[in-house]
Amino acid sequence: MRRLLAARVAQGALVVALVAVITFVLVHLAPGDPIDRSLETSLLSPEARATLRRAYGLDRPLAEQFARWIANFARGDFGWSFSQHRPVRSALASAIPNTLFLMGAAIVASFALGVAVAVLQAARPRRALDRVAGGTLLVLYSIPTVWLGLMLIVVFAQTLGVLPVSGIVDPVLHPYMSLWGRTLDRLRHLALPVATLALGTAASVARYQRSALLDVLAEDFIRTARAKGVRARAVLLGHALRNALAPTITLLGLALPALFGGAVLVETIFAWPGMGLLATSAVSARDYPLVIACAMIGATMVVVGNLVADLLTAAANPRLRSS
């Protein structure tokens, strides 16, 4: 088990390194560089721009820039962000918690909602409720995230005016609020982004969980439990759900890249100051060090997420644990 874990960690590190290389190449293929991008330098003579480029080492061959980046990275230095004018590390430090917060909330919301709907469906399969829910889930699952986000804004922020359009906290009042007030403020700002991110995922969780539940309900031990007179609800929640959760946890691992991608989009729609917003602005500013760092952090999240999902699956499934 421990050796397996070590191998997986090594593989993960390799994957993250490959991501760094791929992003490095892609970002340098794109036209423009951090010096060109800045409008202030549009008035500069080509010579002055060359000076700036030299100062940042952007005039060196690609391989050399990459080697230097690796050397700095090995020392724990992610480099200097051209667009944020601060170390990449500090830009990441303020963005990562926000993204984890958003994704964490979305994961909890989508799995809670998804599993709950699935249980309701599985309680009386192929009846009216199951069918209606199934159809609704299919539609929810098919709605593009962008459209969902924009529609939620139109309805809840523009028309009803009950929830904020964007941002993570109230820009003025937040620091002056009581603990309770600040919590509420955060939740209000969290509502629409999480709904946008979680509804689609919840639908796929529910679809998956329902069929897993139905499979388990057809197995012998359930029939035994029923024969012993255990009540239907206890069978469903106690026996079936516990056994049907393992595949759903695996789904969590698989859903992580999609969730992270979704978070990138949701963050740009709702101005959520996380990794996604950071990455999109870094791409448009040609902020190479920041783009690469964002891609690496994103990849690390995905790799770690998959690893955790594997471990959880192993923990939840006794048959796998022994092997």
């Binding site: 791929i22 299919l138 593009p144 459209w147 698989l254 991608g261 994103g298 995905v302």
Partner: protein, 267 residues
């Protein structure tokens, strides 16, 4: 129900020139006729440039559906080829190919696409198809590889080996055809996925070039006035959701047909 929706959408896309009441890119009067709500003359209203939204949705469907079908087909092919090669080759080649795949899966697709937007901006339809396919084949190739490996341990392959049938022939004749069912399911669900993705890409600025319109770009055209001209976003939005739902439902049915026991693959 979903079959009926699918038939309607595909027919509408095929017969677009006959069904559309107007030229989808004509701007009859950009001052007086812009942004008119649905009426008898314009059942879906007009957009901010006075173009008929119904005609645009019908013609846009043509482009969106063909992009989705072709991109799904292409990405299924790339995925199948990659997965099969990895599985057949085995050993170091397989290991390397799988690590590269892990890395590709671990880069958020949207970040990749953002970089692509940076490189190309608005693109032609064939390029768009290639971009979508090139970033969408990863899961399929994993499925194919797993399926091929599982099948090559199957009794009939082992038996064929024992009988001295050339390995290559066993693989082509017996393993591949059986490995294709998850690909077909994934491709069908992929069509739905691409229909939705196309809307996202238009939002990011990677859409088809005007005057052509896809559902995604029509949505984008209405993005500035969602409250004041809801009809410009609502109708293509409904078309996208309806088409994606129909293809997802089709994917479900195909999967059930291949796999009556319900061992579902995740796509």
């Amino acid at each position: 129900m979903s079959a009926a929706v699918l038939v309607v959408i595909v027919l509408a896309a095929l017969l677009a020139p006959l069904l559309a009441p107007y030229d989808p890119s004509a701007q009859p009067d950009i001052v007086a006729l812009a942004q008119r709500p649905p009426s008898g003359a314009h059942p879906f209203g007009t957009d901010p440039l006075s173009r008929d939204v119904l005609s645009r949705v019908v013609h846009g469907g043509r482009i969106s559906i063909s992009i989705a079908l072709l991109a799904a087909l292409l990405s299924a092919s790339i995925g199948t080829a990659y997965g099969a090669v990895a599985a057949f080759a085995g050993g170091v080649t397989d290991a390397v190919m799988m690590r590269v795949l892990d890395a590709l899966i671990a880069i958020p697709r949207l970040l990749l696409l953002l970089l692509v937007v940076a490189l190309w901006g608005a693109v032609s339809v064939p390029t768009l198809i290639v971009i979508i396919a090139a970033t969408g084949w990863f899961t399929t190739s994993r499925l194919v590889r797993a399926r091929v490996l599982a099948l090559s341990r199957d009794d009939f392959v082992v038996a064929a080996d024992a009988l001295g049938v050339p390995r290559r022939r066993v693989l082509w004749r017996h393993v591949m055809p059986n490995a294709l069912s998850p690909v077909i399911v994934a491709a069908t669900l992929g069509v739905a996925n691409v229909i939705a993705l196309e809307a996202t890409l238009s939002y990011l600025g990677l859409g088809v070039r005007p005057p052509s319109a896809s559902w995604g770009t029509i949505l984008q055209d209405g993005g500035d006035c969602m409250a004041a001209c809801w009809w410009v976003t609502a109708f293509p939005g409904i078309a996208i959701v309806a088409a994606a739902t129909a293809f997802n439902a089709l994917g479900d049915s195909v999967r059930d047909a291949f796999d009556p026991r319900g061992e579902h693959v995740v796509a």
